[in-house]
Symmetry: C2
Subunit: 454 residues, 2 copies
């Protein structure tokens, strides 16, 4: 649904909720896709959300809405719902969504729900809960089609019609040997076009791309994206398939990871806080500004240390913003390029010196350009200051050193972080910019004191 149609839906639902026009609301809710309803929920007050949440009529519709709603919100909305009612709905949902929801509930409540489920389902869900949420095991769907090598195409289609009716993503059929180890894959399409008596091992592709249960979800996303596949099988230590990760989950992962990276790079937490309350947002953002505050205090002491130089040439102060600003901005450029390059796989952590040396050269060239420009401005605007020429040289050199250092620090820190397995995205935030500020200010005053004999 395009953006403006979503807006229209939202307005209509809000108006009907205000009017308590239940009949109309029922009609609209029942013909709207759960994914669109989930978007509408984001823009409602808690009270409106609660009213809307009760509207879907059938258990199937409720289950679809459960799967689409954000988990934090869903947890809030089902707080007062009796467990029996919840389980009835959970039974209609894909088990990976059930496991995700249970992971967000209190242990007692999750256990109460598990106790009420059918044995088969609770076992599957508990199996999923065992794995780390950020790994292939934690995001996989335990429903998939695994058939023996000797099965014929006709038998496989019959299995699809009978045994595997509930499979969410039946586009690949996995082939296993007698010990249930993954040996091949066939697409549903191939199955349809071969003669019915063909055996699976005659047509299957044997170079199956698969991931382990403990493979990180980012890696899973990279693999699905690289090979343009619709689903990747997840295998255990003995190469037995235990689930699949489908491409729609991969899209969500890529989105989430990009958001996480962007927020970390800006020093704004890890989750989008725009829907949180003012106080909660403040609390989340507060610590990220501490580095910047401490850095500022250090810069304060550095400038205090050079008080006598400053006293002799008050105009030194006027150049502080531009020297800090140029360093900060080029540092952000460098670290952003490196962090994103690493995230998309276009830069490799082994290229550390190559990248840093290149950034050094770029930082120097850009610093040279903008430094000369600034030196010229300083020289012509302050002709009454003594010695005007040397002041120009000083600020020019300060910009060159600030920008060169910033480009090096901005590229080196994320490369080093990636090498020691720390997320490089945190390296572009306030930490790097602040340290660049400190170093820039120090070099500036040091150069001035020496060159201008202050």
């Amino acid at each position: 649904m395009p953006v403006d149609r979503t807006k229209l839906l939202l307005d209509t639902i809000k108006r009907l909720l205000r009017r308590e026009a239940t009949v109309h609301l029922h009609k609209i809710v029942n013909k709207t896709h759960a994914a669109d309803l989930a978007v509408v929920f984001r823009f409602l007050t808690l009270r409106e959300q609660e009213a809307l949440f009760d509207l879907p009529e059938t258990v199937e519709q409720k289950a679809m809405l459960f799967s689409e709603l954000e988990e934090e919100l869903l947890v809030k909305l089902i707080e007062d719902m009796p467990v029996e009612k919840i389980v009835e709905i959970l039974e209609q949902m894909p088990n990976d969504d059930v496991a995700d929801l249970l992971g967000k509930l209190s242990d007692e409540r999750a256990q109460a729900l598990l106790d009420l489920m059918t044995k088969e389902e609770s076992e599957e869900v508990e199996g999923l809960l065992r794995y780390d949420e950020q790994t292939a095991g934690g995001i996989m769907l335990p429903d998939f089609i695994a058939l023996k090598e000797e099965t014929t195409a006709r038998e496989a289609i019959e299995a699809l019609q009978k045994e595997y009716v509930d499979i969410e993503m039946p586009f690949y059929l996995y082939v296993v040997d007698d010990r249930r180890r993954l040996v091949g894959v066939i697409s549903l399409r191939q199955l349809v076009v071969v003669p019915p008596h063909t055996k699976l091992n005659a047509i299957m592709a044997t170079d199956v791309v698969s991931v382990q249960t403990n493979t990180d979800q980012e890696e899973v996303a990279r693999i699905v994206a690289r090979y343009n596949i619709l689903a990747v099988p997840v295998v255990d230590e003995s190469n037995e398939p235990v689930g699949i990760v489908t491409v729609d989950d991969v899209i969500d992962i890529i989105r989430e990871e990009a958001t996480e990276d962007i927020l970390k790079m800006a020093g704004a937490g890890e989750d989008l806080v725009e829907t949180q309350s003012v106080l909660k947002s403040t609390r989340i953002r507060l610590p990220w500004l501490l580095a910047s505050w401490i850095g500022g205090i250090i810069a304060f002491f550095i400038i205090g240390y050079f008080e006598s130089s400053l006293n002799k040439l008050i105009y030194l102060a006027a150049f502080i913003p531009i020297i800090m600003g140029m360093g900060g901005n080029i540092g952000t450029q460098s670290s952003t390029i490196v962090v994103r390059g690493l995230a998309t796989g276009r830069l490799n952590v082994k290229q550390i010196w190559e990248v840093v040396l290149k950034e050094l050269a770029i930082g120097f060239l850009l610093g040279f350009f903008y430094g000369i420009l600034l030196g010229f401005v300083a020289h012509v605007t302050l002709p009454t200051q003594q010695p005007a020429l040397m002041l120009g040289v000083t600020v020019g050199l300060a910009v060159i050193s600030s920008m060169t250092i910033a480009a090096v620090v901005g590229s080196l820190v994320p490369m080093v972080f990636a090498r020691i397995n720390v997320d490089p995205a945190v390296a572009t935030g306030p930490f790097v910019t602040t340290s660049i500020d400190i170093v820039s200010v120090f070099f500036y005053f040091q150069i001035a004191t020496v060159l201008l004999h202050l």
Copy 2:
């Protein structure tokens, strides 16, 4: 292929290229997935790339490699290849990839290639070239399955086996009426499980999600992601299907758009420049720093204007970095949250005042916290300065005003940009941070001059 296996492949290929071990190379290249080879290409010198490029033996293998390689690189590698050879390979590639490549070539060379293609293929490719590269029409695949409503399941499967053998993504079958307008969709899976004589209009879903040829690719990606579908049909003005956009292309779009947003937000261009030469990178990054430079010059004049205040209380200069830094950092937080919120659809452009007022409150609270903290530090570290208490109050107020203004500007600018259809991502770059710097410095000196009677 996991990262370390890619690294191993790269090292092996590099070693074999050095030794010119052609037989070994042939073996490796022929059993490696083209997607993996494409990754290896990124880390080779132009010379190594040229050597490796000649190795795949069959036209099919070459075609797969062509599809996977980055277009800029591919254009360089086929520069000296005779057009006849190229066309032979293009004929084995999906037409959307062919159109993408032709779009990057010079008009004459593209025309020469089109002239050599079969009429059917060149018409399809030219059709695709008509659409803007960033729209559904520009990224769609013109191969899809469209069947009449009266067709039976058996006939549909027969059509799959005969007519539609070359379809890349045969998981959805689209149903059209007599005037070829899109009326329904059926998944291949449904087709397999219903009795063979069932007519398509009896089982098709009629609420087909579709996009127009001119729909922006970001919107297409959002739709595919929201409804968890594997492909979305693209229709023309008369609702006739003309192509499909598949989920694997959507993944690439989401990746690209995230990279583009991140780079724009950091003021580092639009494309990842880490593979470009030093001089080219410098040229691309140079203009993005101009805003910061001009802003710095303005700050320089503002401070110059307050020269006499500064002369009376030299320590004012020492607080410039922290006041600028705190404003800059919270401004980046605010604009990042807003830009990403808009990009992921979690914020709506209509919420402008709600969002900005919230940011104002958050900015004030965070400013209050860090301002008091700074005022306290100023008060205790500078007891010999007169009047020490008022100096503390001054810097405290300066931080509060700087952070409040920064949060408002940082959220307001991207919201306004989005409203007037300018990409909000550019708003977080140097432009916003620089204007925050200027306003912060001005308010600081103004507050100091008034409160301290300078």
